[in-house]
Amino acid sequence: MRIYEIVSVSGRNDFFLCMHRLPPSLVLLNNLVFLVKAIVMHERVQEKLSILADAAKYDVSCASSGSDRKNTNKGLGNAHPGMGICHSYTPDGRCVSLLKILLTNHCIYDCAYCVSRKSNDIKRAAFTVQEVVDLTINFYRRNYIEGLFLSSGIFRDPDYTMERLVRIAKDLRTIHKFNGYIHLKAIPGASDELMQEAGMYADRLSVNLELPTEEGLKLLAPEKKRADMIQPMNYLKNEIIRLDDERKVLKKVPTFVPAGQSTQVIVGAGKETDKDIVHLAARFYHQFQLKRVYYSGYVPISNDARLPGLGHQVPMMRENRLYQADWLMRFYGFKAQELLDDANPHLDTEIDPKLSWALRNLHLFPVDINIADKMLIARVPGIGMNSVNKIIAARSFSALGWDQLQQMGVQLNRAKYFITCRKGPIEKKDFTSEQIRRQILNQSHSKYLKLHSPQLSLF
């Protein structure tokens, strides 16, 4: 019985089998050694996990959606029908969907904004392939995670690093029949062959652009080049298109990065404007058919003179406005140029970008909810895409009034300045943009006002 229990600690059945052949006294001794080994191993993995999860957390992507990998082999896991799940939330309110870790935080580069930079005096650690596989499988089986997000510091060279990341994905898929979500970092400078292989096993690949401008990159990460980052993106885009085309004529085409590729830019480390960032995102969405661009508010980690120092606030509000702008581009039909231009290089922090756009374009309003085009209704502040769909469906039965709009979830306190419906406008008066802005601000309780109140009370 004892043997069985100890063996189950690590699940090493091979060991169990060979122990049966030993004389009883030796078995006992061996058990003890093995038990101690198991405890020591557990503690080592604990320490590694603590270091390498901490180092990976600045990567914000945690999407686990968009793949269609089905569990057809009666294996473990299912990334179909492509809906993401957040299994937990950390005290910072961010979603935990994937086991997000670095393979190692040893790195040959010295990027100023990165905790794992070579010159930083921190504890270093590295997982073995088996440890990552074991953690992923066991966390997944307990429904802690949707899958694995594996990144790494660059050790030795890009190919060597990428090869190890691919090995882990391959082991999970082939040996363990794992159909959960795998997101791998594509290491800039790694070979096309490795990218190709990574694409066979991963659901998503991403290359981080790190900084929105090339000047920023030159200043803070002089060893890295924008061209090296674009090269794998370009390769992946072309491969995805090529295989999609093949799929139209051939039956058996292997899956290749089914959830597409994404990227991340750090916000607030350099001197870039919101316009720089949003226009960059728009260009990359278009040029490389990215599924997502993530914006990561810079978290101060050093007193390097080139960067905002320790104690600086993380630009969370700015980050939030950028995501709102990003949503408007991806789902609401806005062009980057409409949201930000040379006259308005920064997003308004007081009000959201949709309201801000509407106030600059009052001449387009009011729109009649019962006849206006779908995408025009989507541009009304206070009406989200869910409400838009309800409105479009319901108005074919009967013309809609204010009560019905409210019940459907339209925020009338915002929308009322911009729409009319069956019963005419609520607001009969013509307001100027500034008046509308003040009225909306007066009745709303921005979560950010609260966020900044302790700071304000200091003065």
Partner: protein, 243 residues
């Protein structure tokens, strides 16, 4: 007024819809019913044939999604949901064409919004179920969902954990679903002590998960309000990372 009492099952409810359709009655659950001296009560025996006829009638008028919403609304178990559902059923049958997207109608909107609430709870269960491995190799999880969502999550867990035996047990409604590597069955059991039934590695993996949870947090971005919004406290008791 006539009050039709049924046995709380979905089939029972459909039978009651069948029986009460032409009269002006209301439908109530048998076990939650408070006697009313001015009303006549009629006990409805669940009759699968009648239930099937109602369901078949609905199937002609509603899309697959509409049927799913109808069932989900029933599973919400909110007080007197039967009234709204009966009105909705009448509205569906009385119209020639499909009314399921007529969101200007109160009953249609009620069903759509209630189904959405139930769907949200279903999704939360898919997220917040935490399995613990028992000594006999079953991944076990306790849950206390707001709505009766176990019937809705079977497929998700069956597809996902095809190669492990698992059980999810609803502590509030005292029943569970169990997958034996082939099919999922409904089970009832006595809940007594839980000590000593877990696999020896179980504690280690919970500790590793707690370590990961701590490591993934960014202290300088702390936002408790957001945390609570996404993960209300009533779910915490079953989450090892928050224990």
């Amino acid at each position: 007024m006539d009050i039709y009492l049924y046995d709380s099952s979905f089939e029972g409810f459909l039978t009651a819809v069948f029986e009460s359709y032409t009269s002006r009655g209301v439908i109530r659950k048998e076990n939650a019913f408070v006697p009313d001296m001015f009303a006549t009560t009629i006990r409805v025996e669940t009759d699968l044939e009648k239930a099937d006829r109602v369901w078949a009638g609905l199937s002609k008028k509603l899309s697959a999604n509409g049927l799913h919403q109808y069932f989900s609304t029933f599973l919400s178990e909110i007080e007197n949901v039967e009234d709204q559902m009966l009105s909705y059923t009448r509205h569906v049958f009385e119209n020639q064409s499909s009314v399921e997207r007529d969101f200007g109608n109160n009953f249609v909107l009620f069903v759509a919004q209630t189904a959405r609430k139930v769907h949200r709870e279903k999704h939360r269960m898919e997220a917040f179920v935490r399995f613990q491995l028992t000594k006999d190799g079953i991944y076990f999880s306790l849950v206390s969902p707001d709505y009766n969502v176990l019937p809705l999550i079977i497929k998700h867990f069956k597809d996902r954990y095809a190669d492990q035996r698992w059980m999810i047990y609803d502590k509030v409604r005292n029943y569970g679903i169990y997958y034996d590597l082939e099919k999922v069955e409904t089970v009832w059991m006595e809940m007594d002590k839980q000590e000593g039934i877990w696999d020896e590695a179980e504690g280690d993996y919970q500790a590793l998960w707690q370590t990961y949870y701590k490591g993934a947090n960014i202290a300088s971005r702390v936002n408790r309000k957001l945390l609570l919004q996404h993960m209300p406290k009533r779910y915490w008791k079953y989450l090892p990372e928050l224990r």
